[in-house]
Symmetry: C2
Subunit: 145 residues, 2 copies
DNA sequence: TTTGATATTGAAATTCAATATCATCTATTA
DNA sequence: TAATAGATGATATTGAATTTCAATATCAAA
């Protein structure tokens, strides 16, 4: 059993909630997908195998997974809330490939250090930050549009 | 007359569009406000003086101002499109004060340099980026919640 | 087992900002 | 003047996020 599953069970227990088939299955599918999924994305995958599961349950389960620190919201500027794995994934920033839709997760300790310095300089106490760089790869450059 | 106004007139001319009272007035109000306004924010200010102007016109005018490079969209993660001045304002990032709602616009050339290096290292051609740091100031720290 | 309290579910409804539609209005030109 | 093109504001529509609600499942206690 994945560590995330037992984490989720513990979380649910402390909240007085239950691990249902639906929740377990949605978590399974979420863990099996290394992408930034919207609720709809995840719902579409889930319903392929079990068409009885509703969007609302996917939506609610993702919220629970966020509360349990297993998932977290990502906003890549495309006007949809997306979710990524949080457990076992530290802070990171994104390079987003605007043509092919791919992305890379990166951490640049030099940048992180300068961010802290910058904040200190202006008397600002940082809690979290977001850095997304949008661009293209070589392949994409060749494509028109 | 503000430089932005003549810019807008030129832009409209090349597009075969007209400078109307509404457009001129909306631009005036926009320029007079040094904030990150949503369409609704701007509409609320505008209608105080001229209640005959509709939301749709504010919406359309902001789109035009973006096309004319006088305004630009900002997304500070609060699920609303906001607009800020673009003309005369180069690229900048934001420190966002999560409690008092204030913000600072910053540019750290050290960070920008490291961003470029990072991209080069992974063969990524950056087009634009976004960096927002969310935190608090001393005053806000003292407040509960 | 049964029961009852409580949690869960999926369909459908609602919300809310963003955007499109459309029947006037208005300015400009033939 | 009439014709044309654009502009406007009220209203409708969209689409994602979220809530509602009646039906169902769970599970501990009787
Ligand atoms: Mn970072
Ligand atoms: Mn920057
Ligand atoms: Zn990520
Ligand atoms: Zn700004």
């Amino acid at each position: 059993m994945a560590k995330e599953v037992s984490l989720f069970i513990d979380f649910l227990k402390t909240k007085g909630l239950k691990l249902t088939k639906q929740r377990e299955y949605i978590l399974d599918v979420f863990l099996a997908t290394e992408r930034h999924l919207s609720v709809e994305d995840l719902y579409n995958i889930v319903k392929k195998k079990d068409s009885s599961i509703g969007q609302a349950t996917v939506f609610r389960t993702l919220k629970l997974l966020c509360e349990a620190d297993i998932a977290q919201e990502v906003d890549l500027g495309d006007k949809r809330i997306r979710y990524e794995h949080k457990y076992g994934h530290g802070h990171h920033d994104h390079l987003v490939y605007i043509k092919c839709g791919k992305f890379i997760e990166v951490v640049d300790t030099g940048i992180e250090r300068l961010q802290d310095k910058l904040c200190k300089r202006v008397g600002f106490l940082p809690k979290r930050h977001k850095m997304d760089i949008f661009g293209t790869c070589k392949q994409c450059q060749k494509k028109k549009r």
